[in-house]
Amino acid sequence: MSGEPLDLTHVKSGCGVFGVLKKRGAPPIGPEVALTGIECVRYRGSRFGAGFGLVRLDQRRRRVKAFAASKEVAEELKEELLRRVGNVESIGPEYAFDGKVYTSYVFELVDEPGERQLRRAVNEVNRAFSKPNLRARVYSWGRHVEVFKGVGYPSDVYELYSLGERIDAADVWLSHTRQPTNSPGRLPIWSHPFSSGEWAIVHNGDVSSFGANMEFLSALGVESFVGTDSEVIALLLDYLTSELGLGLEDACRALVNPFESSGDGLSGRLLSALRGSQLDGPFSIVAGFSDGTDAYMVVLVDRFKFRPLVVGEDEHYVYAASEEAQIRTVSPDARVWTIEPGGYMIASTSKGVIRHGRRAVELFTRFSATLRPPSPSGVVIDARGLSYPKINATLRELAARGHPEASLLNVSGQRYIGVGVDRPIRVKVYGTPGNCLANLNDCVDFEVFGSVQDDVADVMHGGSVVVHGDARDVLGQALQGGHVFVRGNAGNRCGIQMREYAHKRPYLVVGGRVDDYLGEYMAGGVAVVLGLGYVESGIVPVGRFVGSGMVGGRILVRGVVPRDRIGYLPPREDVLQYLRGLALDGDLNHETYRRLASEPHLDYDSLRAVLPQDLLRRVAKLFEHKYFRRLKVERVSLYDEGFADVESVLVEFAKKLSIEREVSAALEDDFTLIEPHRDARSVTPRAETPKEEG
């Protein structure tokens, strides 16, 4: 059943990114790795743009690369460069003119101008050649960084530049496949990577701060933009680190702009100075950079984690990709983890991984690597190269014929596995299934020996999904029946919009930890996070905004969850300011104010414990609004009355994943129960006796 050509092009998706960095002493990376890493998510892109970027530390002449409308324009461009930066040698077009509007021309700089002088020259040249019509555009001018991009799929661009013959190796490779949304894709100027100085970036997302970022850059002298949001990212990184002399980490924090409430952001002073350089809206960015002595790969994700991004590491290399299947394709046994929302990863050739992009880093790969799966059983299907419609048609047929079990081997990124299979069958999955596994599932029991990606078990009504590795973002969205068990960790927005009916109650159990927005908008069912291996080390196994907008169901997290991770609170600084005002007014005694100000978590309940009713009523306006539902947070034991169903599900979870010992030990611990308050409408006390102040 194998050997059919991969046919996934009709699956439309966001852009795809890939990056790989060589660690010290490792063999250099050839361009074919960058191609393989991006071609396996070909369906994330389109024929409207792809590209490759490299960083290499070996010394050579600086190259200015430009798309030009004709040979004459290229000559003109050379003259302009000559006038501004000294001796320039034209080494001709990189590929034969093939009827496309622009061709890439390369100029080598014989004399090394100062970097600032060159940056200014590129800026001026790009402005001069963009008006009234675009005639030429410099898109890469690094000494260590070089970009190859065009219109087409990654394999088309790879061939266009004969990359396999042109470049033997580099320290960092980036690759990108594009699904244009906010600018056209008919010209190569809009393809990724975007580059400025010694930076090149590939981006998946749509930056809503684009206008503010352009304003910031224009204030620093940037005069010409191609008009796509991604270009500003490369410019910002270059200008912040080179022109303004910001350190790499501060530049990352400036762009990512962590929420004020996370405590990870820049100071008010730096934010004021750099206002306009922060990125907003969705982004997953992989960047390559060189400071002249080391080669870096930098990964940035937005604070809502609106776009997928996983990173991985093996003995020789560090990887970054939109999907885990990409990393597994080039390194089957790599340790793979995710960046937390608003986080960044930094790795360099000489230092390896410098920042992992997540706290509690020591535990994140406990579950995923070196799994020893049981042998396949039932009808065995080699899924290598099979498209998902073929896989699903096969499963459907097997189920219809009454086969109880099937095993899918060599699964690598195929999406929608199991969709449309309408009779019961057990399906064992070996490899890395793509997004949307078991969506709308009603009766199929899946067991995955590996990790799963985004959007698993969305709108599942019945059956089960058992994952022996990790799961990524948006696991079990609108889950409304059946069981979803994950041995390892899960990502952002797990169990959002879960719901239940009279005869159906879904259970979602995660053995490790989850990121932000667990159970957001949850209306029913049960979500459990066990934090195995985390709680023992004092690590809270959930991110922030747990149960935000929750109206029903139950969330159970082993151990104590700090109140500031539950729901969505007004900014602590706003609440403190109000209390400070009350203290100045003489309405609140200073001692009480100081005590509240020193509390690590300032939520409504901590105010309620100290403030008299009239003051509480006044502060409540910061917490309450018409969609507000008060959450009840309690410490419970699962042996208490009312948790028998959860306990039996956890016993089944332990059995399926062969971790009975760990789970039974965990069951002895207290859990934090989060559910909507019965009188959830309001936080304002109405008929209660006020507590005495102080």
Binding site: E215, S272, L274, Y568, D574, Q577, Y593
Partner: protein
């Protein structure tokens, strides 16, 4: 429930679609979130409205100030000062004959006339805001570190003028439409002109604009939508001088505590509306992503010369 934004439909009931457009602001519309740039639900997820003024020394909860206090009684003005402080917004005492003692201890959030009023050189009224000694203590119990001097200027289109204000060491500029001048232009144009005039590298290499805070003040600022658009044209703080009084139903003899309570709810409502507007545009940080971000807006039936001055594209323009 007080302080709640009204529920509206998908379609706009605002000018220019339904109401007659009266100002430039009425012809500017927000270019909302798209499929690939999702909107944000500010009731369940963070949309940050806070900002810092004066090189990070003062934190405001939202880009809003309350002004137009001249007609208030001394006691009423004192209550407004206190309410604004609690809500973390600036209060603008311009025009008030006597400064309430409450304002002195809340100096971080008070725009007060400068000790030595010097309106000659820039045709500007100087105002000050003071920096606190330490942010987490009860202000007033502590000495202030320094004063930030703010220039109150008439709306002009003259970039040299704004640059010279900046060069003279002012930490902020209030473009005030109620200050008469023979060359005065619309607030929208002046705000944009000032913002753009300062978009040049300063002596430290950083944008000059990031050393100075820009505020826009006018009696005709009606709503959070007006404020949202003025922020998009470059203002960091928008001063409501009249509409808040309409909203709280201000009239002579009003009970001071009622005035304060209603003003707090008004500000809560404005903050929620700003979050909804930002969320609808896919923006989660007003200060950094919206200020001067003309790309988030489009204009409807605005003449080309005005569009160019504002830097706002026409509807449908890529």
């Amino acid at each position: 429930m007080a302080g709640e934004p009204p529920i509206v439909s998908m379609g706009s009931t605002a000018p220019p679609s339904v109401d007659e457009p009266r100002f430039i602001l009425d012809r500017i519309v927000s270019d909302g979130a798209q499929v690939t740039r999702p909107s944000i639900d500010p009731y369940r997820e963070p949309v940050e409205t806070h900002l810092y003024l004066f090189a990070g020394s003062v934190r405001l909860s939202m880009p809003v100030a309350v002004g137009g206090l001249a007609e208030l009684t001394f006691k009423e003005a004192a209550e407004v000062v206190k309410a604004c402080y609690r809500m973390g917004v600036l209060v603008d005492l311009h025009g008030l004959r006597e400064i309430p003692v409450e304002a002195v201890r809340r100096g971080t959030h008070v725009l007060a006339p400068h000790d030595a009023v010097n309106s000659g050189e820039f045709n500007a009224v100087q105002m000050t805001v003071r920096s606190p000694g330490a942010l987490n203590e009860v202000a007033g119990a502590l000495p202030f570190e320094r004063k930030s001097v703010v220039a109150r200027v008439p709306p002009l289109e003259d970039s040299e003028f704004y640059r010279s204000v900046c060069a003279a060491g002012f930490n902020g500029i209030i473009v005030d439409e109620e200050i008469g001048h023979r060359d005065a232009v619309e607030l929208e144009i002046a705000t944009s002109a000032c913002d753009r005039a300062l978009k040049v590298p300063g002596p430290d290499g950083l944008p000059l604009r990031n050393r100075v805070n820009l505020m826009a003040s006018s009696e005709r600022i009606r709503s959070s939508a007006d404020a949202f658009k003025l922020i998009g044209l470059g203002a960091e703080v928008v001063v409501f001088t009249r509409s808040w009084k309409v909203a709280v139903d201000y009239g002579p003899g009003m009970e001071e505590s009622l005035l304060a309570e209603r003003l707090e709810y008004f500000l809560t409502g404005v903050q929620r509306e700003l979050k909804l507007l930002a969320g609808a545009a896919g923006v989660s940080s007003l200060w950094s992503s919206l200020t001067g971000s003309r790309e988030l807006f489009r204009s409807i039936e605005l003449e080309r010369p005005v569009r160019l001055k504002l830097g706002v594209k026409s509807a449908g323009e890529w």
